[in-house]
């Protein structure tokens, strides 16, 4: 069956279905049309009071033509979105071992707290006297973050990890300019194993990116850094624990070398979950580090956001934190929203977002931190690391470890050497995991490892869950080695969709629904 845009929609003709159904549905898996194929222009799911007749003051700027939107009644809308939800895999569905993403349990208490009217229903610009409790919450979260990281300051407002990274690098740039070195210090060192956001962030604000080679053991060596250091270097951006899942053993020496060279140490905090309560990045000598509240502190990933990326700052950078920030004034808390009000000591580099940041995420993160406490957060990190190493121990005889010398931190990294000559790729293997009921691990990242498979189970998994996961992966690994390629090359077989044609999507981008052509025209 083709839809009225000439696209196949029906499952009925599916070649792979053993028992085709009339509707294309498979019991609980219900096919769902696009909103624009089922909605109607004259339908609404809300009852709105009719406006009183007034003399319009729109200045003659009224819309002349219909927008083209469609509506659904409430029952139809609820069913539409519930059916869509059933095509998604979430943490609540099962183990979600996405390396570097920290897909841990999202406590529902956090959701409840964020929806308290005193947090969820306050306006960012209502009088500060009416939001003292909100400012208190932000202050308290800031204190928790500073204690856990051993730092002097934190810029709370960045909206996501990459945004925090941007704010941190802006603080570094401002500090360099304040020393009159803006014209000379233009190079940022980024290890080859770094997240893509690191070089993208540095380049965005005009730095030149220079790669730091990774050693054969997956770590960055201080000697390699020192070779690159000079009066032109502004900073290094280093992830620690790094993207190979290893704690950089020479991080303290690297930090010292940067400071000695008059440069700064930006730490990508994506992997902070491995060391919360175990080590303080400030003690290691970092100058700035963003914290993904949606990774380490359990705020939901929400299908790709919203996140939150507060960035902690060392004493050397504290003065350059952007507005807004909170200051105590007698018994009251005060939001400083303008550089001119910042006081003599502060030299804010500017503003990175309207308003004050991701309050909804702050509430959730603090709710998580209060729940766990200092003892629980330390235990959580230990469990996260324990779980990753348990998986590694359970798979290392079948799958290959690129860096066996170092213990893994909260994620275990495998390469694809063990798949050599099997005809199965990392991608195929990951897609076969979907059929086993798992979300794939992070694949082909970090780039320094061939066919990388980065597995991060987090502390949220029970031993039984890990055991089943290990057994399932062992079974798949043995099948791959036995040459059962079909199980892999065609996978997934049991998901709501088979493998999707991404090349086609990119070659001829269809980025929105368009109204169908009149039938006559389409037939011509």
């Amino acid at each position: 069956m083709l839809n009225n845009q000439g696209r196949p929609t029906s499952a009925g003709e599916a070649t792979g279905s053993a028992h085709p159904t009339f509707t294309g549905n498979r019991a609980l898996m219900v096919e769902e049309a696009l909103l624009f194929e089922i909605g109607r222009a004259d339908t609404t799911g809300v009852d709105v009071v009719k406006a009183k007749p007034v003399k319009s003051r729109l200045g003659g700027q009224e819309r002349k033509k219909p927008i083209g939107l469609v509506g659904l009644s409430e029952p139809e809308a609820v069913r539409h979105f519930v059916r869509l939800s059933q095509k998604n895999y979430g943490i609540d569905t099962g183990l979600f071992p996405l390396g570097s993403c920290t897909m841990k349990h999202n406590p529902r208490l956090n959701e409840k707290m964020a929806r308290l009217p005193g947090f969820g229903d306050i306006h960012p610009l209502q009088p500060q006297s009416t939001v003292q409790g909100a400012l208190e919450l932000i202050e308290e979260l800031a204190r928790y973050l500073m204690v856990l990281t051993g730092t002097e300051a934190v810029a709370m407002s960045p909206k996501a990890g990459a945004h925090g990274e941007l704010a941190g690098m802006m603080a570094i740039k401002a500090a360099i300019e304040a020393k009159g070195e803006g014209a000379t210090r233009r190079v940022v060192l980024v290890p080859e194993s770094a997240h893509g956001t690191n070089p993208a962030t540095a380049a965005l604000i005009g730095f030149e990116v220079k790669p730091v080679p990774a050693r054969a053991d997956g770590t960055v060596h201080v000697r390699d850094v020192k070779k690159l250091l000079g009066p032109d270097v502004a900073a290094i951006m280093l992830t620690n624990p790094n993207t190979c899942g290893i704690f950089e053993p020479q991080v303290v020496e690297i930090a010292r070398a940067m400071k000695k060279a008059g440069a700064y140490f930006y730490c990508d905090g994506a992997n902070f979950n491995a060391i919360v309560g175990k080590a303080k990045p400030g003690d290691l000598g970092i100058d700035a580090m963003h914290i993904n509240l949606h990774k380490t502190f359990s705020t939901p990933h929400g299908g790709g956001g919203p996140g939150a990326g507060p960035v902690v700052l060392s004493k050397r950078l504290a003065a350059f934190a952007p507005v807004p920030f909170i200051r105590r004034k007698g018994k009251k808390l005060e939001l400083v929203e303008h550089a001119a009000d910042a006081g003599a000591k502060q030299k804010p580099f500017g503003r990175v977002t309207a308003f004050h940041g991701q309050m909804g995420m702050y509430v959730r993160a603090l709710s998580y931190m209060l729940s766990h406490g200092a003892d629980g957060m330390k235990q959580a990190s230990e469990d996260a690391v324990l779980n990753a190493n348990y998986i590694r121990a359970g798979l290392q005889d079948l799958m290959s470890l690129p860096f066996p010398k170092h213990p893994s931190m909260h994620e275990a990294l495998f390469d694809d050497a063990w798949l050599k000559d099997t005809g199965v790729t990392t991608l195929d293997f990951a897609k076969a995991m979907i059929d086993e009921g798992y979300h794939p691990m992070t694949m082909y990242f970090p780039l320094v490892v061939h066919g990388a498979m980065l597995i991060e189970p987090t502390e949220s998994e029970s031993r039984a869950s890990l055991d089943l996961f290990i057994m399932a992966l062992r079974d798949l690994a043995m099948r791959a080695k036995r040459g059962e390629t079909e199980r892999f090359s065609g996978a997934p077989y049991h998901a709501p969709r088979r493998r999707l044609d991404e090349t086609r999507a990119a070659r001829n981008p269809i980025l929105r629904w368009v109204p169908p052509q009149p039938i006559q025209q389409a037939a011509e």
Binding site: L69, V82, L116, L366
Partner: protein, 446 residues
């Protein structure tokens, strides 16, 4: 510790399997003198009940919008969101899923993103929209960078009606990137001549409508002026609801449209998380920042959706990417999409009409107050008042009377000599009683 499934026995058995004696053996790469021996100096773990008490006490110190007559806007708006929206976005499969990089098990997210992109494109009158930005302000900063890429010029001109905090975000990003920004003076009554600031180096002009003071601006002459000089028109909005009633920026010739989508589906949340809407002409799509969802087919020919054109993005292009962005505002997009689906064209228009009618009614009531002047002639649901006194002091007095009256311009533009101006928003939530309370409290405070 209710979030941790492992027992002490589990931990012991697992350490044995790994072949180490204690968990600290796994942390052996951390220099011994940096490894913390004791938990950090923060509170001990706490029960749900205890956390609810602690956070509940903080929440109780704030005055929620729904508890008082509420007229605060200037970039974030209190609207009624149907109960089903919040129910649906809390479905586990939406709430706890990741960026849909594995499309076979993320069709739910991908399909709603496709629907979202379509709704945003229609609403803004543009050909394509992305899968959202962090918020309107960061989206505006990214729009300026995009215009620089398209025009290969590096100077932006900002209207004096652009939200001052949006302008600050653009200026910060541009200064850091080494680009030039020309900012027009605050333009309370929409009388500026922006066209004369456009020259051969100008990549874009950034104009907000309705602007921060509430003025609906005619974008057509600005689009023509920009085009004549080879510059782009970036149209900004902070009140998405307004697009239900006023002409779309696309129909007026905008090249890029960016705005805040919070009004649809999302609560006030003290400023975030919100959802940035971002749309453009088709010909610029490969210069757009952020994620894009596109239609394709699976191995059996069934329609499906994937993230696409990712060769623009940081995880592929690294330092050559169009943006460093790695996140969108997924769940807030979903809230937007669901609310917009419930509204439909009919409900959106009716709600927008109610907003406008309520605002007109309040304006008429205030025009009858001695010494008070409504400065905004063409507006949607928000306008600027000139008061016979300091607006910040007056709203504090009104707050004590239980009315949250608006945003003093001095809060956004201190030192601009506009201390007697107040920005007042009036949405569908405001009743006749609310408006009467506003007028009474204002009279009492003057």
């Amino acid at each position: 510790m209710r979030y941790l499934p492992l027992s002490a026995e589990d931990r012991g058995a697992m350490l044995a399997k790994i072949g180490v004696k204690s968990v600290d053996d796994l942390f052996s790469d951390i220099p011994a003198d940096k490894l913390l021996k004791e938990p950090v100096a923060l509170s001990h773990h706490a029960s749900e009940l205890s956390v609810e008490r602690t956070l509940g006490a903080m929440a109780a110190k704030n005055i929620p919008a729904s508890s008082v007559p509420f007229f605060v806007g200037a970039g974030a708006y209190k609207h009624h969101v149907p109960a089903s929206v919040d129910h649906l976005i809390q479905r586990s499969e939406f709430l706890t899923s990741y960026t849909p990089y594995q499309p076979e098990i993320a069709q739910g997210t991908l399909q709603y993103l496709f629907e979202f992109q379509t709704q945003v494109a229609l609403l803004t009158g543009m050909e394509v929209a992305n899968a959202s930005m962090y918020d309107g302000s960061t989206g505006t900063g990214e729009a300026v960078l995009m215009a620089h890429r398209v025009t290969k010029r590096r100077k932006a001109v900002l209207s004096g009606g652009l939200h001052p905090q949006y302008a600050d975000v653009v200026r910060t990003l541009s200064e850091m990137a080494g680009d030039t920004v020309v900012s027009a003076k605050p333009d309370v009554t929409a009388t500026e001549d922006l066209a004369k600031l456009i020259d051969a180096e100008t990549s874009c002009i950034v104009v907000q409508s309705p602007d921060v003071f509430g003025n609906i601006r005619d974008l057509r002459p600005l689009a023509a002026a920009a085009q004549a000089k080879g510059a782009l028109l970036i149209a900004v909005f902070t009140e998405a609801m307004s697009l239900g009633l006023i002409e779309s920026p696309g129909a007026q010739g905008a090249d890029i449209v960016v705005g805040e989508g919070q009004s649809i589906g999302n609560g006030l949340n003290f400023g975030g998380p919100y959802v940035g809407l971002f749309a453009a002409k088709q010909k610029y799509v490969r210069q757009m920042p952020g994620r894009l969802c596109g239609e394709t087919v699976d191995a059996e020919g069934k329609r499906g959706f994937v993230l696409t054109l990712s060769t623009r993005e940081q995880h592929i292009r690294r330092d050559k990417a169009t943006s460093n962005i790695c996140t969108n505002s997924g769940l807030c997009c979903l809230a937007f999409t669901i609310h917009m689906t419930l509204l439909g064209e009919k409900g959106l228009r009716a709600t927008a009409e109610l907003n406008h009618a309520n605002a007109v009614e309040l304006a008429e009531m205030l025009e009858a107050v001695k010494g008070v002047k409504v400065l905004t002639s063409a507006f949607f649901n928000e306008f600027t008042l000139k008061l016979p006194g300091n607006a910040a002091e007056i709203i504090e007095k009104m707050a004590k009377k239980g009315v949250l009256a608006g945003v003093p311009v001095s809060r956004l533009l201190p030192g601009a000599g506009l201390d007697d101006l107040l920005i007042v928003a009036n949405t569908e939530i405001n009743t006749d009683q609310d408006r009467a309370a506003f007028v009474a409290a204002l009279k009492g405070a003057l």
